[in-house]
């Protein structure tokens, strides 16, 4: 007697909590996505205009000014030859790890909560890489000669130096950009076809081209699935290589504080830490601004919150290992670096980093209530990215102020040009994302649908249990 009632309450609980157990007709889901994509209000255009303005000031105005006058307009100086530009570069490469990690690794391990969030994070990867790719150009003394790094046949038979980590870096970033863009595009094809069939006018024309004539036949699905699986596996080692090589730009040198064998994995973990946090930030904002409450639920924030906590543990472990090694090494200059962080001019930043990256996640994210509260998670994940930015700033600009010859120690403060370019590049990322949010289906409807088909509630005795079947 009681069992029937309990069962109903149980299943209602499941619906409310789990997207996979709360199926709706595909038509309805398609409509939700299309509505979200085509709804633009005044606030949207104000955002677009403001961002365009910042991009123009930062990337055309400030960068142009720097190219025509010389690197001197930036705050960098001897011995701090790399400053905010390289910090930004490492930061954006880190953000770009979100997509592949959340999407590819979770896809490979068949984590079901990934289904509605893959697209949003893959999009971040591509745009963050685009922005990151600007920085090696921005930071070049002679930007107009950047193509000398490309191995092209030329009359003087000059070849780039493949011993240089910067060359490895360039190759890795290009590979990753191409790979992640294809990986973003493949699962988009059925969604483009969906949009093609339900739109008219210019949208229809664009989606018709992008959908590549997708009809949804058995063989098309088979090939697509196979391609996605291949890419999901292949992109993971590429992702690891990219940030490892970025770390090697530092690790391969003999600069005190940089020359460390731990830098490769340390940077990879840091990148995933900041990337996953950025995914949470973006999802919270998307859900709020695009009314995606049906697709993005507490369970997703709960899962991402757990990931952020796990990567906070992992990052802390690497940070501690690196710190302790420097401390016990006892080299004079190494000691100086530790003093610089604990009591020097960058000490406030260092303590903020410890608070946002370790203290706050550890004290809050173990709690389910906090993990599932969008507001709290937004603050925590933004904090993590501020902390991760500081980490890179300390490593790049902080450590360079000290070296083995105290006479040549220096100080560094970013100049207005560096700040404007940084704001410009952040705005570029945001602008690309804001524009894409109205052009690209941000939730992979077919993936959600596929998940919903494979999930059922089964009665076992008096209990209702969710079960998943393999569709492949």
């Amino acid at each position: 007697m009681l069992s029937e009632k309990t069962a109903v309450t149980q299943s209602e609980n499941y619906w409310r909590k789990h997207l996979m157990l709360d199926p709706r007709p595909v038509r309805e889901m398609n409509q939700m996505i299309l509505t979200a994509m085509t709804t633009v209000n005044k606030r949207y255009w104000i955002t677009v205009t403001t961002l365009t303005l910042f991009v123009t000031i930062g990337l055309i105005g400030a960068w142009g000014y720097q190219i025509f006058n010389g690197m001197g307009v930036a705050g960098i100086r001897r011995p701090v030859y790399w400053g905010v530009y390289i910090t930004n570069f490492v930061f954006w490469i880190g953000i770009s790890h979100s997509g592949t990690f959340v999407s590819a690794i979770l896809r490979v391990f068949k984590a079901e909560f990934r289904r509605p969030i893959t697209r949003a994070s893959e999009l971040m990867t591509t745009f963050a890489l685009t922005v990151a790719g600007l920085y090696p150009l921005i930071h070049l003394g002679r930007t107009w000669r950047f193509y000398w790094m490309i191995p092209y046949p030329n009359q003087r038979q000059l070849w780039p130096n493949f011993h240089s980590p910067l060359m490895w870096d360039m190759l890795a970033i290009f590979t990753y950009l191409i790979g992640s863009t294809l990986y973003l595009y493949l699962p988009l094809i059925p969604d483009f076809a969906m949009a093609r069939d339900r739109t008219t006018g210019w949208r229809h024309r664009i989606y018709r081209i992008l959908a590549l004539g997708w009809r949804g036949s058995e063989s098309e699905w088979h090939h697509l699935k196979q391609a996605i699986t291949i890419f999901a596996f292949a992109i993971i080692p590429v992702m690891f290589s990219v940030h490892t090589i970025v770390a090697w730009d530092f690790g391969m040198t003999m600069v005190p504080g940089w020359h460390s064998s731990i830098f490769g994995p340390y940077f990879v973990v840091g990148a995933i830490f900041s990337g996953v946090s950025a995914v949470a930030t973006v999802l919270i904002i998307l859900r709020k601004t695009m009314q995606l409450d049906y697709f993005l639920r507490e369970e997703h924030f709960d899962a991402i919150g757990k990931l952020v906590l796990v990567f906070s543990f992992a990052w802390t472990y690497f940070f501690f290992a690196d710190y302790l090694t420097e401390w016990y090494g006892g080299e004079a200059v190494g000691k100086e670096l530790l003093t610089l962080q604990a009591r020097g001019p960058i000490a406030p930043l260092w303590y903020i980093m410890l608070i946002t990256n370790i203290l706050v996640p550890w004290l809050t994210l173990w709690n389910r209530k906090i993990r599932t509260s969008p507001k709290a998670l937004l603050v925590i994940t933004l904090g993590v990215n501020i902390g991760m930015y500081i980490e890179r700033y300390i490593i790049v600009a902080g450590f360079l102020t000290r070296n083995r010859l105290p006479f040549d120690w220096g100080a560094y403060t970013p100049s207005i040009v560096e700040i404007l370019i940084s704001i410009g590049s952040l705005s570029t990322f945001l602008l690309l994302y804001v524009l894409a949010s109205r052009l690209i289906p941000l939730i992979p409807v077919w993936e959600v649908h596929e998940g919903q088909i494979s999930h059922t509630l089964r009665r076992v005795g008096q209990a209702l249990l969710p079960s998943v079947s393999e569709l492949e």
């Binding site: 006058n69 010389g70 690197m71 001197g72 960098i76 100086r77 001897r78 011995p79 030859y81 790399w82 090696p136 930071h139 070049l140 003394g141 002679r142 930007t143 000669r145 950047f146 000398w148 790094m149 000059l158 070849w159 780039p160 130096n161 011993h163 240089s164 980590p165 910067l166 060359m167 360039m170 730009d249 391969m252 040198t253 003999m254 600069v255 360079l400 070296n403 083995r404 010859l405 105290p406 006479f407 040549d408 220096g410 100080a411």
Partner: protein, 236 residues
Amino acid sequence: MSKYEHHWTMIVDLDKCTGCQACVIACQAENNIPVVGEDEIRKGRGMQWLRIERYWEGEYPNIRARFIPLMCQQCENAPCEPVCPVFATYHSEVDGINVQVYNRCIGTRYCANNCPYIARMFNWFDPQFPEPLNEQLNPDVTVRQRGIMEKCTFCIQRIRRARETAEAEGRSIRDGEVQPACGQACPTNAIIFGDLNDPNSQVSRLAANRRGFRLLEELGTEPAVIYLKGGESNVI
């Protein structure tokens, strides 16, 4: 005997050095090093290829000043060379020194970060030679553009000129024939320059001196600059 045709080496006798900075000025004049002005100097953007590093030791009144002229050490295992993505800096097989190709440099500044001697200077702006400095530009030396790296070359233009003269006269370069601007200007002859491959050269004899040491020797960069220091003589 090294693998190079010449192994140019500099000896800096710290026991003779008075810290007068004549070498710094001579270097600046010889190599068309731009004058950057007070503000830039204050920012740490002075471009002297050669500088006198001064360290204070102790507390007043028992205070001592120590100083050392420091320039590119022309390392045998130069950390700046492998990191350049475009081969703008490489090791000369003729002279055994570290060469900077201005026209090839794209300005990543990676080499400068990796130099443990902080010996590399960057052209933050296009060079300025206000009147009358433009009248004394050295025609043997390129004026560098903004955005590229430069550093002490061991006065490569003088080495080249000596080699061409010697070739024209059908002989090898004589010891003491090449003298960099800093050595020429030094009033106490603290800077000696020559070919380490020649066992009878002045540098070869001085290099064997037991007062000799190389800067940051523990890094294994094998500098071609050898400092000599015996006692407390260069302390004021």
